[in-house]
């Protein structure tokens, strides 16, 4: 029983582990001719989210990827992958362009959450997320969200109102971090392993709940440069391509109705 209990938290640790591929690594391996675009045209540039366009096989796509960075310097520049409102607004701007030019959107999600800071609040963190939820629901182009690590609450959902949710085997997605949940419920953040179990946050749980459509198997010790790393990208490339091609054939009205119903059922 004890080992059973630890299982979910093991995944949380894996999702946060050092050396795990970040959004940038997925872009480098999945997308050719990637061109990055910066800034939200309102306030600034948020390095926690990379946006741009490129090709998935022969298909032009818009990519919006959260990126935590690898080195300490990168991590600081990227605010440890916690976006500010300008990050979400930059993402929305790119999604609107994708809609205009008929490009499917690939969102790559990896964040412990939207940043809880003074500046973020003063510039409308809640509003920025809310606007993304509303606009993505009726975005007239296929959207797939791929969870590669942490999926921290509203900050993750703001890039995940999608037609399909794919989750890496060790990615997690939760309304609150296990530590936060334990400290609120039991006034003891050290009971995070128990909380992780209760929250049903693993890829497998989420697929059972209907929150995610696919779980992408990971090789053991999935790290940048590890032996079977590239195999994951080959598999992903095929899966994403297939899904986008299928979605592109759907009449737009039907696609949007299915997206609405996808969330309506919860």
């Amino acid at each position: 029983m004890e080992t059973e209990k630890l299982k979910a938290y093991k995944r949380v640790e894996a999702a946060r582990s050092k050396g795990r591929p970040t959004g940038r690594d997925y872009i480098d391996n999945l997308i050719s001719n990637f061109t990055e675009f910066h800034g939200d045209r309102r306030f600034g540039e948020d390095k926690a989210i990379i946006t741009g366009i490129g090709k998935l096989k022969n298909l032009p796509v818009t990519v919006i990827a959260m990126d935590k960075g690898h080195t300490t310097k990168e991590k600081i520049a990227k605010n440890f992958g916690s976006p500010h409102p300008e990050g979400y607004r930059k993402a929305l701007r790119q999604m609107k362009l994708a809609e205009k030019f008929g490009r499917p959107v690939l969102c790559i999600v990896d964040t412990s959450g939207a940043y809880p800071g003074i500046g973020a609040e003063e510039r409308g963190q809640g509003l920025a997320i809310a606007e993304n939820l509303m606009e993505m629901m009726t975005l007239k182009t296929p959207v797939i969200s791929l969870f590669i690590g942490e999926g921290g609450s509203g900050g993750a959902l703001a890039l995940a109102v999608a037609d399909r949710i794919f989750m890496m085997e060790n990615a997690v997605y939760s309304v609150i971090s296990p530590e936060g949940c334990a400290s609120i419920l039991w006034k003891d953040a050290k009971r995070m392993k128990e909380a992780a179990e209760c929250l049903k946050l693993t890829a497998k749980d989420l697929k059972e709940l209907g929150v995610a459509e696919k779980v992408i198997p990971e090789p053991e010790d999935f790290k940048v440069g590890s032996r079977n790393e590239k195999r994951v990208y080959y598999l992903l490339e095929d899966l994403l391509y297939e899904e986008f091609m299928w979605a592109r054939k759907r009449p737009m009205e039907q696609l949007l109705e299915e997206r609405y119903q996808r969330f309506r059922k919860f």
């Binding site: 809880p116 963190q125 809640g126 609450s153 939760s174 929250l199």
Partner: protein, 298 residues
């Protein structure tokens, strides 16, 4: 000495006897007869506060207000009907489980909340008239697990927007919430997307949504339908934010400035349209509804 006692003052009342053996048993006062205003520290007579729409008569502090009191405050008497949520659920939808992810201890918490608030869930939705204008109305409940949003709350509000869309009615909503209800895990988070979708459809049909943010409105509710109104109003000094003040302080390791995340600051920063105190709310809403009714009234 005994003979001088009480010589220089008059007995205050008959209970206080001259000989110094005052009767110390006090008249019975109900515990809730008085309350203290958290803002100005004045001790107030509860009935006074009630008569002032749960607003401190001294300093204007807006106390938390129960759903039913709020309903009485803004809806024309006798015009409100609650939605039949069960009947409105989409076809083929399984009836809701009360503890959808089997979170330990959640059932007990739910039944305690039901007992405490006398309501079935954290939001009240229905149709009613505000100053004569037919409107869809939702009011969140501060007494029900702090207005937290789980599947039932999300479902009710979604049903309201879908119904209002069908009947081409505006929606007026009052928010108060600590955020998503963590005992329902990821399914609570999904409510943010679900309600946002319904708000978007309602909005795309050219219909009005006015939201009034009350103290406190935070977390997943702020990051969804609280910020999706065509017109966003707030009660004076309401705490409105995405992250709670404690979480921010723990993250940035410093104290937050006075007035941070309060309605007045949000107004200054451009995130709410207006601050409207309780006494003006009904006439304010009536005016908005009239201006958006498409009717020319003389």
């Amino acid at each position: 000495m005994q003979m001088y006692r009480g010589l220089f003052r008059k007995p205050k009342n008959t209970l206080e006897k001259r000989d110094g053996t005052a009767d110390r048993s006090r008249p019975k006062i109900a515990d809730d007869a008085y309350l203290k205003c958290p803002d100005c520290d004045q001790v107030l007579y509860s009935q006074d506060v009630k008569d002032h729409m749960d607003v401190c008569p001294e300093c204007g502090h807006h106390f938390k207000m129960s759903v039913r009191r709020r309903l009485d405050l803004i809806v024309d008497p006798g015009t409100f009907t609650e939605l039949d949520y069960e009947a409105m659920a989409p076809e083929g939808r399984e009836s809701k489980k009360s503890n959808p992810i089997g979170f330990p201890g959640y059932e007990q918490k739910l039944s305690a909340a039901k007992k405490r608030s006398g309501e079935e869930e954290g939001v009240f939705c229905g149709l009613g008239k505000i100053g004569g204008w037919e409107t869809g109305i939702f009011i969140m409940d501060p007494d029900f697990m702090m207005g937290s949003m789980g599947t039932a709350v999300g479902e009710r509000i979604t049903c309201l927007f879908e119904y209002a869309l069908k009947k081409r009615l505006p929606v007026v909503g009052y928010t108060v919430s600590g955020g998503a209800r963590m005992q329902e895990g990821i399914l609570s988070l999904m409510q943010m997307a679900k309600v946002s979708g319904a708000v978007k459809r309602h909005s795309d049909a050219g219909l009005l949504y006015v939201v009034v943010l009350t103290d406190p409105t935070t977390g997943g509710v702020t990051a969804s339908f609280a910020m999706e109104g065509d017109i966003i109003l707030a009660e004076p000094k309401a705490l409105i934010g995405f992250a709670g003040p404690r979480v921010i302080e723990q993250t940035i390791l410093q104290k937050l400035p006075e007035g941070f995340q309060r309605a007045e600051l949000l107004l200054e920063k451009g995130f709410v349209d207006d601050i409207v105190d309780r006494k003006r709310q009904k006439s304010y809403l009536k005016n908005l509804l009239e201006l958006h009714s498409g009717k020319i009234t003389i």
